[in-house]
């Protein structure tokens, strides 16, 4: 019987396992489907990771290796090349790998850290033919950075998410011509530094309020049609431009990978597409926690590590001290807050700190995030430079919620 099984050995899983160890658990097992730990960080060879966690800008593999070293300094077990097929309600984890065959492990607690996947051409229904040479940005990144292959010479990138921007620079440095980065929204969802360093440095045009409306080519892609879109993101006839290219990269968003969560019967939040969790990142299934991109898509790995640390600590507390019960406040959002994590906060937390992550629905130079109960204000946090692409974080203590009102609902609102 394990104290804890962590599903996924990427940044979330590693940090969660280490945190659980630090908080007193001893029999911990990480199950990783890939051949090595580190997850997607292994292919993110660009730098900029860890500024918050380590105070320096590291590459993805470097950031991962720091956590791998931390885990290696403990007696945490890790099985790579191991795919989890199912989790039973009694926290039996069923998995396979080439060495052990079909195996079942029982655990006192489980942390879900399976990460996310990229949205595809199908998810946004791009019309046109279906030739080769259309890659999601992460797939192209893997082909280049891990496998050492070049994916194309003349490239159009749809979507200005960070992976797309990073790949624009990566392809350019390896000799490809990146013709344009096309973004359907009037603003980029990528970090400003990435726009400057990956597009502007190489004179790659960023076409805002544009999208790909047709794909050409029978075998390999030969070109795309790009059109301007109106305020409702509908293509405007007559604005078509043709680009001759042999590659189209898609960087059109990430989706938490929760099929295992779903089949285990854990409640999901349709807004985050991740599990509904309490402030300790416990899901609606007893003793099962979630953190990182499987819970909600983060923009910085440093926040993934931070959240995983909460989950690891909470799993340790669960195993050592027992359940926190099901007496909770539900967190509602209003006024432009698109979601919060957690969605539930246990009652009676006293001085315990609650880290609440949230996103807003628009770009604002400054605004205030207000926590209320029965309409009465409990706390107010001043924030500057808010954007949908940048997660916000507020911290307060449990007893703050007891200072006014009587409702079981806590409201988190955006006030401009």
């Amino acid at each position: 019987m394990y104290d804890l099984i962590v599903i996924g050995g990427g940044p979330a899983g590693l940090a969660a396992a280490y945190s659980a160890w630090e908080n007193g658990l001893r029999k911990i097992l990480i199950l990783e489907r890939d051949r090595e730990l580190g997850g997607i960080l292994n292919q993110c060879i660009h730098n900029g990771f860890g500024v918050k966690t380590f105070g320096e800008a590291l590459s993805g593999p470097e950031y991962a290796s720091r956590f791998e070293d931390m885990v290696a300094s403990t007696e945490i077990e890790a099985k790579t090349d191991t795919m989890v097929l199912d989790i039973s309600p009694d926290r039996t984890v069923h998995a396979i790998n080439p060495k052990d065959g079909y195996v079942s492990f029982q655990a006192k607690s489980v942390i879900l850290a399976m990460g996310c996947r990229e949205r595809t051409r199908g998810a946004i229904s791009i019309p046109g033919t279906r030739p080769s040479g259309v890659f999601s940005a992460g797939t192209a990144q893997r082909y280049m950075n891990i496998d050492g292959f070049m994916v194309g010479k003349r490239v159009v990138i749809l979507g200005s998410g960070d992976i797309g921007l990073i790949m624009a620079r990566r392809l350019t440095l390896e000799g490809a011509k990146v013709l344009a980065c096309v973004e359907v929204m009037p603003h980029s969802s990528g970090l400003r530094a990435n726009i400057a360093r990956c597009l502007n440095d190489f004179d790659i045009p960023l076409m805002l309020s544009h999208t790909v409306t047709d794909i050409h080519g029978d075998k390999r892609i030969t070109g795309v049609t790009v059109s301007a879109v109106d305020d409702h993101m509908v293509p405007i006839p007559g604005t078509e431009q043709e680009f001759e290219c042999d590659t189209l990269l898609l960087s059109v968003g990430l989706v938490p990978e929760n099929e295992l969560t779903k089949s285990a019967g854990i409640d999901l939040d349709p807004r985050t597409r991740g599990a509904v969790v309490y402030e300790n990142r416990e899901t609606t299934m007893d003793g099962v926690f979630a953190c990182g991109n499987v819970l909600h898509v983060h923009d910085l790995v440093d926040f993934v590590s931070e959240e995983a640390t909460f989950a690891g600590k909470a799993a340790a507390e669960y195993v050592l001290n027992g359940d926190k019960g099901e007496n909770y406040y539900s967190v509602k959002t209003s006024g432009g807050v698109t979601y919060t994590v957690p969605q539930r906060i246990h009652k009676g937390l006293g001085e315990e700190k609650i880290n609440l992550y949230l996103r807003v629905n628009r770009t604002l130079p400054k605004a205030e995030i207000v926590v209320k109960r029965d309409g009465e204000e409990l706390a107010r946090f001043r924030k500057t430079h808010l954007a949908p692409g940048e997660m916000q974080s507020v911290v307060f203590t449990g007893d703050l919620l007891e200072t006014a009102g009587s409702s079981d609902e806590i409201e988190v609102a955006l006030e401009v």
Partner: protein
């Protein structure tokens, strides 16, 4: 080598003809223009095994549909082709459509379709609670099924090959001549094939192939149909295939579960720009989505994972065009195979044998016909079977496609089958790797590496699907990345 029969085209029709002919002591060749079987209309359709109430009674189409429905069921069981006997509902939204259902019911009875039922509104909604509130009745056909159409094609073609049929891929027919009762077929790649009989199963090109030697008898009017394929999260939105009442545009937009557990929505029917126009258009996709929502208002198109289009080999005749060419003796056309062509295919194959016999071909059954096919689908095994398999071959313990739980063992097997996969899509069609919600985002680089390893080729030679659909342009940092 002189063949008894040369089949042109290895879609589901050609494969069925090859399968049925392989039971006899004959030398048969199948010539396929593409680099794999089932790459045209056979892989891009609604994947439905129709019950048989649609075709006009007395037609060849009606007979072969009903017979085919039964045969497909038998073949699927025998050759491990995934099939789901989910049944279908044609739903009506008005009294006049209810009248039409009655007509379809009567047709079905005349065609010999078993287990057909007219359901009232309440019964219909009980069967399918997610249907529109406006539905006022339905025709329930219990014998309708959904299938993997490329797997059916593959299964029949594989058994044919196992029993001595020669399959030539990448062999596009350019010319056909006949001298002293022997046909010579010349392919674009320069190879020639001699044979006593020709079976034309060239799908959307069947008129072109026929006219290489015969006089015009029919014209293919390629008609494009576009589809949406949704994630398994939408796969239980309906239990049966849901048709709307057919109209002048065909059987209309359907909503149905796929045999793999996804939801399929489509098709429309538009002429398109030619035989090879398989491009999706936003207009058609919008139409398909809007029309489907009329049947099932709660479909979440946010869960769309892929769009595709197929081309129907319609002709000016509302009937299968099966028979000996009027101007070329020994040349058998299996043309105009539109819906319900997939359903009818094994019956067409069987009928082709009968016709060839009347045309003079001698059919003597083999004693050693091997009507079997081994397929391992790891996901479908029980825990103990999974464990045993991994102990025997550890490659079954490594999941490569996480969305569909496909193991390295299955991918390797697909590369060494009777008709082996040679492309990433070829692997996908054989073992489902890359068919799921991430559409190969995670697994395609891993599948490419396995293909390269198993076939001893460079990864830069690997095709996504058809010939020349290369995936990678070169190796990094070996001097090949110069623009």
């Amino acid at each position: 080598m002189e063949y008894d029969v040369i089949i042109i085209g290895c879609g589901v029709t050609g494969a069925a003809a090859a399968y049925m002919l392989s039971k006899y002591r004959l030398n048969v060749a199948v010539l396929e223009a593409e680099n794999d079987v089932a790459i045209g209309t056979s892989k891009a359709n609604s994947a439905i095994i129709h019950a048989g109430y649609d075709p006009v009674p007395g037609t060849l189409m009606a007979r072969l549909n009903v017979e085919g429905n039964k045969l497909v069921g038998e073949i699927s069981e025998q050759l491990h082709v995934p099939i789901s006997h989910c049944g279908s509902l044609v739903i009506a939204f008005s009294d006049s459509e209810l009248e039409h259902l009655k007509k379809l019911y009567d047709r079905g009875i005349k065609n010999g379709v078993p287990e057909l039922y007219l359901l009232d509104r309440e019964e219909t909604l009980k069967e399918e609670p997610n249907l529109s509130e406006e539905v006022c009745g339905s025709l329930y056909a219990k014998t309708a099924s959904v299938i993997s159409p490329w797997d059916l094609t593959l299964a029949m073609a594989e058994v044919a090959v196992k029993n001595g049929t020669d399959l030539f891929l990448n062999t596009k027919v350019n010319a056909i001549t006949k001298e002293d009762g022997i046909f010579t077929v010349t392919a674009e790649n320069g190879n020639t094939f001699k044979g006593k009989y020709i079976v034309n199963a060239a799908g959307v090109y069947s008129d072109v192939v026929h006219e290489m030697i015969g006089e015009k008898e029919f014209t293919v009017n390629p008609t494009k149909g576009e589809y949406c394929l949704l994630d398994k999260s939408e796969g239980t939105r309906v239990k049966h295939v849901i048709f709307q009442c057919p109209n002048e545009l065909g059987k209309g937009v359907l909503v149905g579960p796929t045999v793999h557990g996804n939801l399929i929505v489509g098709p429309n029917a538009e002429p398109g720009t030619g035989r090879d126009d398989k491009a999706n258009t936003s207009k058609a996709l919008d139409f398909v989505k809007k029309t489907a929502l009329r049947s099932v208002p709660s479909i979440s198109f946010r869960e769309n994972i892929r769009n595709f289009a197929g081309v129907r080999a319609n002709t000016e005749f509302d009937e299968f065009l099966i028979g000996e060419s009027k101007t070329v003796k020994g040349f058998l056309n299996l043309a105009g195979i539109k819906s319900p062509g997939l359903t009818a295919s094994p019956a067409i194959g069987k009928y082709a044998c009968e016709l060839l016999e009347t045309m003079g071909l001698e059919l003597v059954e083999k004693d050693d016909f091997d009507n079997t096919r081994e397929v391992i689908r790891f996901k479908e095994l029980g825990a103990e079977e999974k464990n045993d398999l991994i102990k025997k071959d550890p490659r079954y313990g490594r999941v490569i496609c996480r969305c569909e739980t496909v193991t390295e063992g299955e991918i390797v097997a697909s590369l060494h089958e009777v008709i082996p996969a040679r492309s990433i899509a070829g692997v996908k069609r054989r073992c489902n790797a890359g068919m799921g919600r991430c559409q190969g985002g995670f697994c395609s680089p891993r599948v490419a590496a396995i293909i390269a390893r198993e076939l001893g080729i460079d990864e830069t030679e690997i095709m996504e699907d058809r010939a020349e659909s290369y995936v990678l342009i070169g190796k990094l940092k070996e001097g090949t990345n110069n623009v």
